[in-house]
């Protein structure tokens, strides 16, 4: 599977209404992916995850983009705001909410992967510093 694929999630202010399960859009259901799972999510002020969950093998990274809320991580609670990133390791139970007085929906992405480490993958990039951009004159 090479080449590329494009999907449309809509802007952040549309995320609460979007998706088969409103407020949750799985990018990896919209387009095929190999290693990367991603969801775009919105949680209305005062609402929360329907349940805690954890993973045996998968690492997740949550990126908060709008609104204010909290994440429960086992026995701890972390405040989240725009720009907060939370990496969650295996076996950690998690749940989140938007604060009741959040000025907007909590908008967040959840990224997941469970394969080989990036360290083992190593440096695999190739650069072309000479090729002009496709929109250059």
């Amino acid at each position: 599977m090479t080449s590329y694929d494009v999907a449309q999630l809509g802007g952040l202010d549309t995320w609460l209404q979007a998706g088969d399960r409103p407020g949750k859009q799985f990018v990896d259901k919209l387009i095929p992916t190999q290693y990367i799972g991603v969801s775009a999510n919105a949680t209305a002020p005062g609402d929360q995850s329907p349940f805690w969950h954890s993973h045996d093998r998968i690492e997740e990274v949550y990126v908060f983009l709008g609104g204010v809320g909290q994440m429960g991580l086992d026995d701890e609670v972390v405040d989240v705001q725009p720009g907060t990133v939370v990496r969650v390791g295996q076996g950690v139970m998690r749940i989140l909410r938007a604060l009741p007085d959040s000025p907007e929906d909590l908008r967040w992405m959840c990224i997941r992967a469970g394969g080989d480490t990036l360290e083992n993958v190593g440096h695999d990039g190739a650069l072309d510093r000479e090729r002009p951009a496709p929109w250059a004159e």
Copy 2:
């Protein structure tokens, strides 16, 4: 590596100035990650990537959150706007720009992973529907 880690990227409107290389913050340099690489990026209207690049093993998913721009993908150009997601497979050269008349900086995340497939990882989640949220009365 279990447990969790927290980092602060700042809100979207701060991304252009943030980072050791302004406009680019690597989450996986701020906190240790296992499988997931993520960067938070901003590109000013009219600016573009310094070079094309591709990967041999890594899959990347670009998520565009603000502004309007274009991605070059080998010989094709894709328009991007808030909510556009582009998965890029191995060997595909890519470059991006913010349109000169973009109403704001192009804000985008780039997610990368190169390990085992999510399909092979399979269903590894555990739910707890009974445990109350930590902020419940």
